[in-house]
Symmetry: C2
Subunit: 236 residues, 2 copies
């Protein structure tokens, strides 16, 4: 990258070293752009170029109206391991929590009906949730359930793991899962929920889940912050 | 998404229908923003909002200084199937070709040395390539090879499949592969090669490949246009 001015590269190196040294770890917040420009005796433009490069590397991220923060480590997501969100976070020493946005009955559009193997226009359950790692919203998720298998589920506490609830109340365990992962740009609602700019990059994961009897039981649409996860797959 | 003005939604629906109807399929190019604003009797701002939504859905994409184009279908990439780029494209009825940017010996930095299980500072082969689907650059790739296994490879025709070359000339076949996939923003060089804006979203895939004797033979760093692929994994 010979066409990057040295100052940008130097700012990146220095900031990376200061971050690694724990300088900003109290609250994870970097000084303001104005303060940083002064510290580096550089222009705002050059500084922003450097911050943009660190953002591209996933080292820092911007919060709307709040400034720049150090990125927490990405969550490692192995689609071949059958672990749910809370368990996955815990195994990696992270703190997870889930907020329910809403839940109810909706009409399946053509795409959802096909995925759930139901007729178009069928009534299905929708649960919309926001999931946090270490206090940062990282995942906006829409769960679509075939109501035939989950009578009464909407009156349960839906902040808990659905995996656990399925097993305990319905004796339903996950069998085969089909993952479709698309790098995408965040649609408006997901961006608003995750408090990032509309059109920010994201990973959009569609999971179609079958149970131990190979019946399609639900379909999840997951929008992940692009810098929040890391997919890890080993093939033999 | 109740806060989207009807006009934006209406423009999206109409354009999606016109695209599906094959109206722009001769060269895949949409009319200019000015022409589209006139056709929809709307402002440039509203039109751009609609185009942005279609871009987020991966329906259209922008080429620097050339305008808006219909997105070709995403390539389906199943990390569990051991298929190389050209074969994968062909199986999906797509036309693939590869351009070599450069090749040579470089010094392994700490991260590459660790991945290749070599000492830091070891000399390794680097091959940089750009890969096209149906004439569009979709993948910027850096291959790092342990030179111990590939004597003389840099004088071969490197536009061909390395998988094929490994097998024919070196009797080396892929064994286990480790994939790390990170949604990211394109770094400067990859963006310039793919002719997209620096900082555009991308999927960054690191593959560490072992051979039939379980030796680490090479490591690929792949930057994919975010709208060019679709990861498909089924877990049992």
């Amino acid at each position: 990258m010979n066409d990057v001015p040295t100052t940008v590269a130097a700012i990146c190196r220095t900031l990376t070293a200061r971050i690694a040294g724990g300088e900003f770890s109290a609250d994870g917040k970097l000084p303001s752009e104005r303060a940083l420009s002064e510290q580096f005796s550089t222009t705002r433009i050059t500084l922003q170029e450097a911050l943009g490069q660190l953002e591209a590397q996933g080292v820092i991220y911007r919060q709307m109206r709040r400034g720049w923060f150090i990125s927490p480590p990405r969550l490692i997501y192995n689609p071949l391991q059958r672990s749910h969100f809370h368990a996955m976070a815990q195994q990696q020493g992270r703190d997870a929590h889930t907020e329910v946005i809403d839940s109810g009955r909706v009409t399946a559009n053509a795409a959802l009906a096909r995925r759930l193997e139901l007729p178009e226009g069928a009534k299905i359950y929708r649960i919309r949730r926001l999931r946090y790692i270490d206090g940062r919203a990282v995942l906006y998720c829409e769960h679509y359930l075939n109501p035939a298998y989950f009578a009464g589920i909407l009156s349960e506490d839906l902040t808990q793991s659905l995996t656990g609830l399925y097993a305990e109340r319905y004796d339903i365990r996950y069998g085969r899962v089909r993952f479709d992962m698309l790098p995408t740009l965040l649609p408006q609602q997901a961006a608003a929920m995750l408090k990032v700019t509309y059109g920010s990059p994201a990973l959009f994961i569609t999971r179609v889940n079958r149970d131990q009897h190979d019946r399609v039981i639900d379909c999840d649409l997951e929008y992940w912050r692009y810098d929040a996860l890391h997919i890890d797959v080993e093939a033999r």
